[in-house]
């Protein structure tokens, strides 16, 4: 599994993402700077967490207009997997690769703790080893703008198309997200964005490795 991590000014979880890739794939991922206009020939792209451009204008808004974005769009359009975590999720939404918006947390507080996620669909390259409604992942969150917002029409569309990859478990919604939605897929099911950090749950030393399944699932999909 050849992986690349796209780095923007203000990304800060790219090393965590690299550790997860190394652990899951047994290979060192490449790093791609946002000023590039082409991507190396890779199977999997990850947009890591952080605070690109200091969250100016809207979180992810400036990064989503970076020179590398057209290449990321092309990678996604080719059906290859793209994962956006936290700020990476915000960037994918701002780039129009995923629906919805991410708002300031409902309680206005930066939230940094573990959450329990429930898999919403096993039908994606990231979740094929998981069972909808059954598989749970203990996964940390760390964000200030993670309230997932969709209109009722968009929510219905996501549900009808089985595109809600993860929800926060009952009573564990940390940010006021619509319908407890923690992560969503694009229509092609190969782009996944989520606020929690599966890459930070890939080592027992760091509290658990529930998140590893999301990465190893890609190996089986490839």
């Amino acid at each position: 599994m050849r992986a690349a991590i796209v780095v923007f000014p203000g990304s800060n979880r790219e090393r965590d993402m690299a550790l997860a890739c190394r652990r899951a794939f047994g290979e060192e991922p490449l790093h791609v700077w946002h000023r590039e206009t082409t991507l190396p020939d890779v199977d999997f792209l990850a947009l890591p967490g952080g605070f690109s451009y200091g969250d100016y204008l809207r979180p992810g808004a400036i990064a989503a207009r970076a020179p590398i974005m057209d290449a990321i769009r092309a990678h996604a359009a080719a059906g290859k997997p793209v994962l956006g975590v936290c700020n990476g999720f915000q960037i994918l939404i701002e780039a129009g690769l995923l629906e919805g918006a991410l708002l300031r947390n409902a309680n206005l507080k930066f939230v940094c703790r573990e959450t329990t996620l429930v898999c919403g669909t096993g039908n994606s390259p990231f979740t094929r080893a998981m069972q909808a409604g059954v598989t749970r992942m203990r996964t940390p969150v760390a964000h200030h703008d993670g309230g997932y917002f969709v209109t009722p029409d968009q929510q219905k569309m996501l549900e009808d198309q089985d595109r809600i990859a993860f929800r926060y478990a009952d009573g564990d919604n940390p940010n006021g997200s619509t319908a407890d939605i923690a992560g969503v897929l694009n229509a092609g099911r190969n782009v996944l964005g989520l606020m929690p950090h599966p890459e930070n749950a890939t080592d027992p030393l760091a509290g658990g490795e529930d998140g590893l399944a999301l990465f190893t699932s890609l190996l089986e999909a490839a």
Binding site: L57, A61, R104, A106, F149, T151
Partner: protein, 80 residues
Amino acid sequence: MKAQVAIRLRPDVLDPQGKAIGQALQTLGFSGVDNVRQGKLIELDVDAADAASAKAAVEQMCARLLANPVIEDYEIEIEG
């Protein structure tokens, strides 16, 4: 040409920041304050022949970057 873009959260979007501001106003003793909403104002100089073309340019900027149509409405004002 000077342009101003007022960006507001759409009415159906929860605005926790506006809510917190409203609560702080109440704490200060301002009674009868309700529905506080926080937005942003972006000012820019645009090199354009006339107000209409300046507005058209800023309209493009709003659509492509300045506003997020999923959650925000905007109003453009061209001065002079």
